[in-house]
Each structure stands twice: as C-alpha cells, then as structure tokens.
Symmetry: C2
Subunit: 134 residues, 2 copies
C-alpha cells in the first residue's frame, strides 16, 4: 500500500489554496467539483500523494457534517492499492470493518471507506485508480 | 516537497499497531521512544511516506496534550524537503508563520513546526533528513 491522498476540509477553498500554495511553494494542480459528496476540491501533487482541500457546498454531505462537527482540518487519509476487490477480501478476512459499499471518488478513483470505529475514530479508506476504458 | 510523515496519536500503541497491521497488510517497521516529546512511536513505511503512531507517555508533552484535547486521531503532517534552512527562508518570505525554532525529530529528522493558526488549526511541519556525519 501507498498513501494515495490526504484530505483536509476547509471553509473557504480560495483562501486555503493561497495558504497551501505559500506553504508548499507550488501552484494548485487541479480544481474539481464533487457533487456526490456536496463539495468543491482543489489538489496538490506531492510526490505520489495528492493533498486535497475540500470545501463543503452542502451541509448535509459528509464533508459538510465533518466541518460542522470538527471545524477545519484533517478529514481523511486514503491508501492506494492496485486491486480494490482483492484488498477488500483481505480486509474482511482480517476483521477490519468497512463502511458501506465502494463509491466513486474524484476522477477514476474507486473508494472504499473503512469503519471509523476500527481506525482511531478517523476516516481511513482504500482507493484504486481504475484504468480508463474499464 | 513530498509528504515525509503523517502522525496519529493513539492511547495504546500495541493495540493500534495490531489494527494498522491488519489494515495495511504489513508488519510495523520501527518502534522508537521519543523522550523529548514524551511519547513512544511505531512506524509503517508506505511508499516514501512514514505513517507514525504516537502514544503519549507524558501528559504535558505535545502528543499528550493533543490526546487529552482531541482524543485519538490525526496529529500532524510533515512535508519533506532537501534543505530545511532554504525552505524556512522561502516560508518567511511568503508570510507563512513558524512555531518556535527547528527541533530534533525521530532518527536524523530535523523538524520545523508551522504556526497552526496559519494552517487550518492543524499541525503541519517541514522535515529534512540530515545526512549522518554532518
């Protein structure tokens, strides 16, 4: 496993982009909507890891609820795998709790959330980048 | 910049190691004390990134205070750089707030905390791995 992306929830995406551009010394690479989660996102690529800023646009989505409960800050950490289905089989055999079915993330990311109760109360997940054309 | 390490504070290091070994499908690589911060640590290497679990041993250290205030979970994210002093010069010129002077981290890591007020209230930092013999 690698670390695939780390997400931080923010109140104001433009302001947060400016701060992280100054911290990281590089320009933001991508900006995307994520309507299924009720959010706008902006991404920086750091080595092989995406650092993702997430601004909720819908208070009832998962990012919106996280912002209301915890304020700005760490939202989730996703581990990258080559084969999500094989990994889910291994996780189930190991007794790791999963939260819901796999879902669509940004781009071609196929994402499975782990049960936060199993993992420090924080949201960890597993991501496979599905090849285009599959 | 790369992501160098991500730390999560835990109450019980052995129990957390077992959970993350099951999630990650790999054994923990390193266990170390970090007496200057009042903590025990355990590390997994994921690609080029260290995932570090931190169990406080001193309630007055930074990890202990974080655990008391926030409970288990995300503690900090550190960006790796080749030259810490050059990076600190750039950060100061960019108006990024720093917190205190550089300090010694695990191994040969030389660490500079950023001002949490500048970065979502979360602890971000910059790490240079100093060559042995310097």
């Amino acid at each position: 496993m690698q670390i695939h992306h780390i997400n931080f929830v923010v109140e104001d995406l433009d302001e947060a982009i400016g701060r992280f551009e100054r911290i990281l010394g590089q320009s933001v690479q991508r900006r995307d909507g994520l309507p299924g989660r009720g959010a706008l996102t902006a991404r920086f690529k750091l080595g092989r890891v995406w650092l993702v800023l997430v601004q909720p646009t819908d208070a009832s989505g998962a990012p919106g609820r996280h912002l209301a409960e915890h304020g700005e800050g760490f939202f989730l950490c996703s581990f990258g795998v080559d084969n999500l289905d094989a990994t889910l089989g291994r996780l189930r055999e190991s007794g790791v709790g999963l939260a819901g079915p796999p879902r669509q993330g940004l781009d071609n990311w196929r994402v499975q959330d782990l049960d936060p109760e199993y993992s420090l109360g924080e949201q960890f997940q597993v991501t496979e980048e599905v090849e285009d054309g599959d």
